[in-house]
């Protein structure tokens, strides 16, 4: 006579074992997936960096105006961007103007975002830039307020993050008017040219002696 009860128990045991095996595999698969698959994978545009003759590297960015302007906030200006922007009217910020832009590389591809802040006061006028390139890092540039001959402004790289952290150097800004009559052409562009200089590492003692 067949042992039906025994077969039933054996079948349930195998079922239970398969279930527990599934749990272990599920745990391992979830851990493996989290370890192997990057949660964040930033899209990178290849950097277009030139080596300058007297050392360092240079890179040029530009902003097509008005297409790349995200925000234009200025207490004394009627044409705020975007429409509906409520720029604070407090006395403290009366002479402060801030603009947020998308920034493009030399191939005209958007690679990051930037803020240009300008403030005027009797003691201390300021023009600052912060460039944020998500895949690379950020740059903080404090510009000289007075423009140079040719309409340039120049400023020192005061700080940077990630890729730019060990670099110093300077950046220039320049407004280039667009004289073409093309229908959808920008009014002009702001050209930003950054020159990076790496940190100088002191020589080892042995090398110094040699």
């Amino acid at each position: 006579m067949p042992d039906l009860a025994g077969e039933l128990i054996r079948g349930e045991t195998v079922l239970l074992k398969t279930f527990f095996l599934g749990i272990v595999l599920g745990l391992a698969a979830a851990a493996g997936a989290l370890y192997a698959i990057p949660v964040v994978d930033q899209v990178r545009e290849a950097s277009i960096v030139k080596v300058t003759p007297n050392g360092g590297n240079s890179e040029t960015f530009h902003i097509n105006v008005p297409m790349d302007r995200i925000v234009l906030g200025d207490a004394g200006q009627a044409g705020a961007v975007p429409p509906g922007l409520k720029w604070p009217t407090d006395e403290v910020l009366a002479n402060v103007r801030a603009e947020l832009f998308k920034i493009r590389n030399a191939r005209d591809a958007v690679v990051g975002v930037a803020v240009r802040a300008a403030a005027t006061s009797q003691e201390n006028s300021v023009i600052d830039w912060v460039l944020h390139l998500p895949a690379r890092g950020s740059l903080f540039v404090n510009m000289d307020v007075a423009p140079l001959e040719g309409g340039f402004r120049i400023g020192e790289i005061a700080s940077g993050s990630r890729e730019f952290a060990p670099l110093s150097g300077f950046m220039t800004e320049r407004w280039i008017q667009n004289d073409s009559n093309e229908e959808d052409a920008p009014a002009g562009r702001i050209e930003l040219s950054a020159t990076y200089v790496g940190q100088l590492d002191p020589l080892e003692t042995a090398e110094t002696v040699e």
Binding site: G22, G73, G84, F140
Partner: protein
Amino acid sequence: MKYVVSLLLGLVIGAALFVAGLLFNPFIANRGLSPLSVTDAEVITLNFANVPAESIAYTNDGESLHDPYPEKVLQLWEAPIRSTSAMATVMRDARNQVAGIGVKFSSDSESTRLLKGQAIVDSVWYVYLPEHGSLFIQQTENYFPFVREVAFPAWRSSANSWRGSWLGDLTAGPGALGTAAVTGGSGRVKGLRMEGVESMSVSAFSADIGLVSSEGRLMIEMPENLEEINE
């Protein structure tokens, strides 16, 4: 067939157990007290609105949790900036008076390691304070405690929302003590290297629209010998 179903059921439960283990892992603890809360040096405290609709402007790729504000603001849809958000906001001092303007850029970081309890965001602040000058703050932020204690309970709730009181430091580096690197660009703080911490308090969050009631705070520790430096 029943064995395949049993295996699949086990796989799903296993994966769910892993996620639960990750979220309730007691070894992933909040860092607790900020190092700047016990400093003797002068600290600049700046409060700001964290809810996009309460800021001056906020934008992202237009498909994220928070809607851009104002409605017609340019969106960051291009591939290299799709995981980036930008916010301009009013900075208020400890007496709730307008102290300046702040712009924050945040990007999801490739150094995110959920297995280690790190949901990292690389962010920079540009802050202009007429009284002090301009400041550049660069930091890595860890949103894992926020996700675990606010966003996940909101997602799990039948109303898709969370109400309560959550306060936490977001800054996790690059400073050794989990502080942000602060550089002075102009004015009284020109050329100074300082440390800072950003924290966030949340009292209402929705899994559908994001932060409903929240305030952010930046604390910046000035050098102890600031008067000597400025002389």
